[in-house]
Amino acid sequence: MDLKPAYAPPPPVIAPGHTFGTVTEQVAAIVLTRRHPYSWFFGLAIGFMLSMVLLMSITWLLIKGTGIWGVNAPVGWGFAIINFVWWIGIGHAGTLISAILLLFKQDWRTSINRFAEAMTLFAVACAGIFPLIHTGRPWLAAYWLLPYPNTMGMWPQFRSPLIWDVFAVTTYLTVSLLFWYVGLVPDLATLRDRAKSIHLRRLYGMLALGWRGSARHWERYEAAYLLLAGLSTPLVLSVHTVVSFDFAVGLIPGWHATIFPPYFVAGAVYAGFAMVLTLAIPLRVMYGLQDFLTIRHLENMAKVMLVTGLIVFYGYIMEAFYGWYSANRYESYMIFNRMTGPYAPFYWVLILSNGLIPQLLWMKRIRTTPILLFLIAMVVNVGMWLERFVIVVTSLHRDFLPSSWGMYWPTRWDIMTFIGTIGLFITLFFLFIRVLPMISIFEMRTMVPGAKVRGGKAH
């Protein structure tokens, strides 16, 4: 009888046959020497055009005010917060991969952390646009958001979750940027030493700060990097917790629930991993990176998606349970209306795309087939957006008094602003893969078999 070992060591995170030189060559060449595939120009062109749509819709918003949007009584929170929460959530996977998986010594994170961190930055940048413009008068936002001594003698209200959001999101953006840059410095030194033209050498040289790979530097570098990871871990959990407080602190049926923080954090990681897969699967084909982004990476990410997806699905079930168990007529009407009311199709598509379709990931064959995984990731991207739409709109559109019931539909400007931020995200991401190494080269070197010191005691 053929007995399988109970535990087989996982396949290596890098294809066999690589040396320090080939790893460096293959990743750095994408930035420095290789011709870019037509798909890169095509993607950048689409992203750039959509960014122009964003600029146009923001300009029109600043001229006319929020009247161009679909928000009105009773639904005062519309696309702006839906998109904000969606984008912020997407960002979370980058930090999770770079910080939490680092602390757990999951070495497969090495080939995905760089571009996942970039994704975080760009997603947070897209998210940040919405709170800035949501009043239509962003230049007035300074004094009610930022604590600075102004001539009116006014200060922000620190008991409001919306102010907590400002601090959480700006801290998150700053720390993510630092984390990303610190990780980039040794790779920028590599690019400095490989670049042919003097201008590029100077540019990368300046950014690399004169990094020379000294052991004394590496020691402090690793200490700082590990501490940053340790600081980012509670930070990333706090960000979506604070975002969920925006809802949970309110007294609106369907929002006022203690399950919101964990349910939002799991949803954020879920959406983020879906976006990482959405980016990674085309990238590895476009740039021939199958050696570094192996099937094992895709499968692991699919597993994380499956787990967080189940937590999110549990959240949906609990929401329905609360509605019934609360014995509160507004709560139970809210969930009944969500399932059968005018927005019911959105709810059921949400359940299908976030709850049911991802269950296919239980099958190994699907987890290891990139194209199917890509499709499921796309479904989850849509599903997570619908989740925020359902939470925001279905709770608000049936106010406590039937006389103030209403409906919410986005206008063309809402839709153009949203699509515009997707364009901005694509543009930034395509520019990133053009000018910076999308895989952390120095960390990949440590994955090469020759990097292990033979003999001597292990650390």
């Binding site: 320090f20 003698g153 300046m206 790979g213 052991a215 590496w218 700082a224 501490l227 120095f442 650390h459």
Partner: protein
């Protein structure tokens, strides 16, 4: 400055150099090698201490700001609720703790490492400038080391099995 073939050779050379009594020297590698830290007996606790300091400063700044704003500068009486409602100040305090600690970690690390540094003599060695950030493993004993002597140090490095030995021009 000596160049070695692989991490193992570099670690052994570093160990021997330290045991030989050299102190002002450094090993260079394109990725962190923990064994070299041990071989050089590097133990620098200043980065973690800076992070702790940054975190405490951030906590005090965050809490202080909110207490000052809410209780002294701009007190709002809402239904007689206390001005010093500290539980509501936890999230911002927490975020600023993290922010200051992270800034301390990054800037502290760069400053302690003496970066940014636009010029360093090691880059005058052609092999170093080309390979140190890619696939080269180097060990440089500096002339300021009390034990340094041009002839003896060169012979010592040769004895370590170096692939190539260069003088670093200033």
């Amino acid at each position: 400055m000596a160049e070695f073939d692989d991490p193992t050779a570099l670690v052994q050379a570093t160990r021997r150099t330290y045991d030989e009594g050299y102190r002002v020297f450094d090993s260079y590698s394109p990725f962190p090698i923990h064994e070299t830290f041990e071989a050089m007996h590097i133990e620098d606790r200043r980065v973690p201490l800076l992070v702790l300091g940054g975190g405490i400063a951030g906590m005090l700044a965050g809490l202080g700001l909110q207490v000052w704003v809410s209780a002294y500068a701009y007190p709002l009486n809402i239904g007689g609720r206390p001005y010093l409602s500290w539980p509501m100040f936890v999230p911002v305090t927490f975020e600023l703790t993290i922010l200051f600690a992270a800034l301390a970690a990054v800037f502290g690390m760069f400053i302690l490492n003496g970066l940014p540094m636009p010029y360093h003599p090691v880059f005058n060695v052609a092999r170093f400038a080309e390979h140190a950030s890619q696939d080269g493993f180097f060990l440089a004993i500096e002339a300021t080391d009390p034990k340094f002597s041009h002839q003896a140090t060169r012979a010592f490095l040769r004895g370590l099995g170096a692939k190539e030995i260069n003088d670093v021009a200033h």
